[in-house]
Amino acid sequence: MTSFLIGLFIATLIVALFTMRLYRLILWYSLNSLSLALLAITIGYSINDNTMILSGFLTLVLKAILIPYILKKVSVKFGLSRQIKPNVQIHYSIMLIPALLVFTFYLAEPITNMMVSNANYVAISISALFLSLLLMIEHKNIAPKIIGFLTIENSLFLLGTTATGGMPMLIELGIFFDLLMAIVIINLLFHQEEEEGLE
C-alpha cells in the first residue's frame, strides 16, 4: 500500500510538471498532498505512531483541502493568468525529467545505503524535491512557483515520514503553522497588488 501511494505521489508531481493550466496544477497539488496524507496515515497505522496519524490527518485537511481551496480563491479573486506556459518546452522536459530521476537516484544512493529503514523512499523523496525545484524553475508566472514551494514542503514531509519515522510532534505542528503563515503572506502579497491596481 505504501508503495502504491508513494508511486501516486511522484506520478502526480510529474503530471504537474507537464500541466499548462493553473487550476489543473492546483488539482494535481491537492492530489499530491492527498496521497501524502494517506501515506502518513498508513505508515503511522502500521508502526502504531499516533503522532504520525495525526499529522497525516492535518495534512489531509490543510494541504489537500484548505490550501488548494485558498489558492483557487486567490487566483480567481486576483485574476491570475490561467495559462501557465513552462519555459522549458515539453519535449525537452520529456528528456530532462528521466535524466533528473536517474541522476537523483544515483545521487541518493550513498544516502540510501546509510538509511536504516525505508531506504528507497528516501530516494523517491529526494527526486521529488528536485522535481519540485524544476517546477519552480520552469515557470515564469508566480502561481506555479508557489505550487513548487508547496510541493517542496510536501517532499520534505515525505522525507521526514519515511527517513526518520516521523519528527517530534511539536516540530510537525510548527512546520504546519509556518506553512499557514506562508499562505497568509502570499495572500497579502497579492492583496497589495490589487489595491495598487484600483488606485
Binding site: M114, L170, I175, I185
Partner: protein, 470 residues
C-alpha cells in the same frame, strides 16, 4: 522568563492594530522593553533553561540576543522618523510594526532554540515576516523583490529543513527523539553511526544558510532586495536576521566539527574564499550605498563563517558583534546620506550643520572607516585573531604554506574592498556640491547607542566574556 521575552512583541502586535495617532510614539517606546529580558538573560547563571530542553540560553545565545536587541531598539528608533525622509503611508507604518513583532517572536525562538526543529520554525517565521516588511516600500521594484525574497528565501529555508531531516535521521538510531536537541547531538557526535549521512545533512543545511546570507552563487539577490526596501528594513536584515542564520551555522558546525573537523573546515574554507573573491569585485563595481553595504555584509559574514570554522571562536564572535553594530548603523545613516538622490555618492558627507549634524557626520565617517577594519575598530582585532586561528589549524595539519598563500590572497581581496571604501569616503568628503541635509535627534541617538556598544565591545571585560564562550 518566556513571557518577559515575548511581552514586547505581543504588546506591539496589539498596538499596531489600534488606530490611535499616538501609537506612532508608543511603538518605539515599547520596543525598548526588548532590552530588559536580554540583559536579564545575560546576568542569569548559564545555561539557563527558558522552557525545558527546548529553549536554553547559553553564553552564545545570550550574547547574540543582547546584540540583536540593541540593534532592534536602534532600528525602531530610526524608524520613527522614516516618514520624514521617504514617503510612507500610515498603514504601511503600523504594518511594519505588526510584522516586526512577529519577526521578533520568530527571532527569539530561533536564537534561544536548543532544538533543530524549533530553530527552523523560528527562522521561517522571521523570514516570512520580513517578506512583508519589504513591501512597506510601495514601488514596483519592491513588490518584485518581495516575491523574489519569498521564493528564494523559501528555497533556502527548505534546504535547511532538508538538511535537518537528514541529520535527525542519522542520529535517531542512537538518540531517539533527543536527536533534535543541539546539546545532546554535540555530546554524542562521535557515536553517530553514519557520519556520511550526517555530513550530507550538514552540507545541505549550510548551503541553505549560505544562500540565505547571500554567499556564492547567490551574491546579488540580498543586495537587490535591500536596495528595494526601506533602509530600516535593510538594517534589520543585516543586523538581526543574519545573526539568526549565523547562530544556526555556529551550532550546526560545532556538531559537525565534533564529527570531522577537517571536512567542515575545507568545505567552509572553499566556499567562503570563493564568496569573498566574487564579492570583492562586486563591491569594486558598486555604485550606491545600499548595494555597497549589503555586499560588504556578505563579505563579513563569509569572514565570520571562515573564522568560526577554523576554530577562532573568539575572533568570529568579536567580528560578529562588530559587524552587527556597524552595518545597521551604516544602513540607518544611508537614509540621510541618500537624501539628495540614490546614486549620489559624491558630496554625501558634506553640508551638515548644527550639533546634531556634526555628530552625525563624525560618527558616520568613523563607522565607514571601521567597517574596512582600520585599527581602532574591533574588526581589526578580530581579523588578526581570525587569521591567527587559520594559521593554527593549518599547523595542525601540515598545510602551513598553503594556508599562508590563502591568507595572502584573502588580504589582497580585502585590500580591493579597502581601496573602494577609501575612494568612496574621499568622494563623499571632498567631491560634489554642498547640499544641506537634515538630521533628526533620534537618528543621532541610534548612532550614539551603536557607538557606545562598539566601545563596550572593545573593553577587556567583554573580551573576557567572548573568550569564555565555547
Amino acid at each position: 522568563m518566556i513571557y518577559l521575552l515575548l511581552l514586547p512583541a505581543i504588546i506591539m502586535l496589539i498596538l499596531s492594530f489600534s488606530n490611535i495617532e499616538k501609537s506612532k510614539y508608543i511603538l518605539p517606546v515599547t520596543s525598548l522593553l526588548i532590552l530588559f529580558p536580554s540583559i536579564k538573560l545575560f546576568f542569569l547563571p548559564r545555561p539557563y533553561s527558558v522552557i525545558g530542553k527546548y529553549l536554553v540560553a547559553d553564553d552564545l545565545s545570550a550574547y547574540i540576543m543582547l546584540v540583536s536587541s540593541i540593534v532592534a531598539i536602534c532600528v525602531t528608533l530610526a524608524m520613527s522618523t522614516l516618514g520624514l525622509h521617504v514617503k510612507i503611508s500610515k498603514k504601511a507604518y503600523s504594518r511594519f510594526y505588526r510584522f516586526f513583532a512577529i519577526f521578533w517572536i520568530g527571532l527569539t525562538l530561533s536564537i534561544l532554540a536548543n532544538n533543530m526543529g524549533l530553530y527552523w520554525i523560528g527562522l521561517e517565521t522571521a523570514t516570512l515576516s520580513t517578506v512583508y516588511m519589504i513591501k512597506t516600500n510601495n514601488t514596483a521594484m519592491a513588490r518584485k523583490e518581495a516575491w523574489n525574497y519569498m521564493i528564494v528565501g523559501a528555497i533556502a529555508i527548505s534546504l535547511i529543513l532538508f538538511g535537518i531531516i537528514l541529520i535527525y535521521a542519522s542520529a535517531k538510531p542512537i538518540l531517539g527523539e533527543d536527536a533534535m536537541i543541539f546539546s545532546s547531538l554535540l555530546e554524542h557526535a562521535k557515536e553517530i553511526k553514519s557520519p556520511f549521512l550526517f555530513e550530507i545533512g550538514f552540507a545541505i543545511t549550510t548551503l541553505g544558510m549560505f544562500i540565505k546570507m547571500g554567499f556564492f552563487p547567490m551574491n546579488l539577490w540580498l543586495a537587490n532586495i535591500e536596495r528595494a526596501s526601506f533602509y530600516p528594513v535593510a538594517a534589520l536584515f543585516s543586523g538581526i536576521l543574519e545573526s539568526a542564520v549565523m547562530i544556526g551555522f555556529f551550532r550546526f558546525s560545532k556538531i559537525a566539527q565534533a564529527v570531522d573537523l577537517l571536512h567542515v573546515f575545507i568545505f567552509v574554507f572553499i566556499y567562503t574564499i570563493l564568496t569573498i573573491f566574487i564579492v570583492s569585485f562586486l563591491i569594486y563595481r558598486a555604485k550606491d550605498f545600499m548595494r555597497l553595504f549589503s555586499l560588504s555584509g556578505v563579505e563579513h559574514m563569509a569572514l565570520i563563517a571562515l573564522f568560526w570554522a577554523s576554530g577562532g571562536i573568539f575572533a568570529a564572535l568579536l567580528h560578529f558583534g562588530a559587524h552587527a553594530f556597524l552595518k545597521p548603523a551604516l544602513f540607518l545613516s544611508t537614509g540621510i546620506l541618500e537624501s539628495s538622490g540614490k546614486y549620489k555618492i559624491a558630496g554625501a558627507l558634506r553640508g551638515y550643520r548644527g550639533i546634531k549634524g556634526k555628530i552625525f557626520y563624525f560618527l558616520t565617517a568613523l563607522f565607514l572607516l571601521s567597517i574596512v577594519s582600520l585599527p581602532p575598530s574591533p574588526m581589526f582585532f578580530s581579523e588578526l585573531y581570525g587569521f591567527a586561528a587559520m594559521v593554527n589549524i593549518a599547523k595542525l595539519h601540515q598545510h602551513l604554506l598553503l594556508m599562508i598563500g590563502a591568507i595572502i590572497i584573502l588580504l589582497i581581496l580585502l585590500s580591493i574592498i579597502f581601496y573602494k571604501f577609501i575612494e568612496i569616503y574621499q568622494s563623499m568628503k571632498y567631491e560634489g556640491k554642498e547640499e544641506t541635509k537634515v538630521v533628526y535627534g533620534n537618528e543621532v541617538l541610534a548612532l550614539i547607542i551603536f557607538a557606545i556598544s562598539l566601545m563596550v565591545l572593545l573593553t577587556p571585560w567583554s573580551f573576557e566574556f567572548l573568550r569564555g564562550v565555547s
